[in-house]
Amino acid sequence: MSFTSWQFGVFAAVVFAAYYLPQVKSFQVQWLAFASLFFYGYGQPELLPLLAVAVIGTYLFLVLALQNRKMWLPIGIIFNLALLGFFKYKFLFIDSSAPTGLAGVAAVDFLLRLPLPIGISFFVFHNISLLVDLTGQKEARPDLASVFLYIIFFPQLVSGPITRAEMFMPQIKPKYLADVPIVEAMKWIVTGFFFKLYVANNLNTMTSYLDFPLYQTLDPGDRWLLVLLYSYQIYADFFGYSSIAIGLGLMFGYRLPINFNLPYISRSFSDFWTRWHISLSNWLRTYLYIPIGGNRLGRARTSLNLMVVMGLGGLWHGAAIGYLAWGLLHGLLLVVERPMLSALEALSRHTFLGPTVTALRVLVVFGCVSFAWIFFKLPNFDHATSFIGGMFADHAVGHSDRIYRSLVLIYTLPVLLQHLVPWGRLETPTQRLQPYLYGIMAALALVEAGADTSFIYFQF
């Protein structure tokens, strides 16, 4: 069930309306968990048992690890990584559409043929966070319904933000309608729908030319333009989803972590990863980068750790060489910039040169990040390299008339304005205008919506 479907609107309204009824007050957690199961099963009912196995299995390991962390925590983590590995990467080795038996055993064949469970990358990370955080802090054993809610809370179930257990679990307590920050929640939800429907979906009609084989009809100039547009699109798409999730979370009394902080004005690649998909960066840093040594073991080992973490982060998105290449490219950029960061920061603080240097740094980071998205959009490595080759060709080939610059402007403008206007300083002067601006955004999201497409991060 997509956030942008009318079915989801009805679903959210019903769940919200019942949630604060006095009769539901004593089992709000169970109600939300049940609603989340319905939300998940609506699209893929055959995968509900898998979700149940993942949650109940994790709960079992949590109970055991609370008694003996040293023994059961690694097993619990391996259990979850095995789930992720099996369902996410099995398609590298099998052809699930093959008419004949794959393994010869009916039950195994059934598992092998199951589609990629939506959101598995996200709920597996929730599971691991639950195991590590609660056993590390020697918390009291939570009840099963709370664990269910943490892992499958529907606003964050399929595409995050990846909420750490130590942040979410303390929030599980009775909720009251009077405590809901309704205006803040509405702002998040309207912003999310606006960025998804108005920006991302409309840009998608242009960036669909990046797909194979359509990109072969593009001139080099349009290839460059579309790479930049995809950069805006993927941001608007994922930021939009995260914003809706945060707004919905607030409606039900839960504050989910902020996932984006103007990533395209980052001055360095390490700065970018504190602004882009922040919940994933935090997760990888907390549960992977620091445990394998972080930057405590010398320069060479730090570089290796960065490459490993970013490579695995890339593969987390999907089982394709392109995702690995995307992750490794970011790892390489982080390694390369690391020795130069102090000097660059000093230059940026220079009175005279500072603004120019900062602007150049922002442009370089944005350019490199956008270039790297090619591997994300075209996870088939051959397609990606062929596309890149065409970016540097010296001949025109194609259908440039379909990419109208006026449309490019009106659909990228919100991202540009969001990043370049100092909204923080305008907060007070624009206070009175805000309800009208959000009203306009909501109307534009409705009447100017581009053709419906699923959220890009749903596939992960």
Binding site: V190, S208, R402, A443, L444
Partner: protein
Amino acid sequence: MDRAGTWLFKFGATFLLLWACCWAAPRLFANLPQFPPTTTDQMQVDVINRFFQLPAQDVVLVGSSLSFRLKEQYFEHGDVRNVAISGGSPLTGMAIIAAAPLARLRVVAVETNILERTIDNDLLERFKNAKRRTDTLRPLRSLAAHYQGVQDDTIIYSRARIKAIIARPPAPDQSSQQVAEALDEWNKPTNYEAMAAGAATLKSLVERLEAEGVTIFFYEVPYPKQLDRSVYAKMAREALARVIGPDDRRRLTLNYPAAELRWNADGVHLDDRSAVIFAAALDDAVHKRLTGHDRAVAP
């Protein structure tokens, strides 16, 4: 009302007001600027969408990419909706129109050049039972379309621009090489059975629409001379004649200066000026029939 209530009221009122304006605008003003489709796969869908979303017109064209080039603005009477599908067939357009409830059409003009292409069932299923509706205004997109129209007048064809196109001399013939290359292919024995089947389907669709009171006309988009005499072109005419007869009253007599026609580099599709000339002839022929001035062959 508390602060949150005031905020929500202002927000909701702004939203409703803007949405209501966008809903009302296309119902109050015709011919608001529209953007052409921006992806190839949208093109076919967009053609049919326009038929269902824009105000109904008296005359509907169905055909292939040959007729797709005949822009609605080329027709001086201004009452044409072009449902020709680039890369598709007239049969698909006819079938979608025939399956639509409450179509209330007056005239369908059918291009008869390409008959061997069958009905696109995916497209038909998508629009089966679709109803005409008036979309809401997309204010920023319309603004951009207007701007684009001013910048790039391939989108908006004013009468002045069309006159200017006609006033310029015919372009030099650039298609002879492609025509010569295409001729071999066009002279190969074609799949006559497919053409005959297409003609039979066309006949049944025509009868179905005529039973609902729709007037049907047939027309052929001109080819360069060599292709016009090719096996392919002759077989298509023969397949149609076998089904509806050689002198069917539905055939339109088109008068245009054939010597002035030119084709794009592909040798098959009319260039802009020729499309304007041919559209004028088609427009004239249809309205002569409708007003009874073309009594010699009037239905």
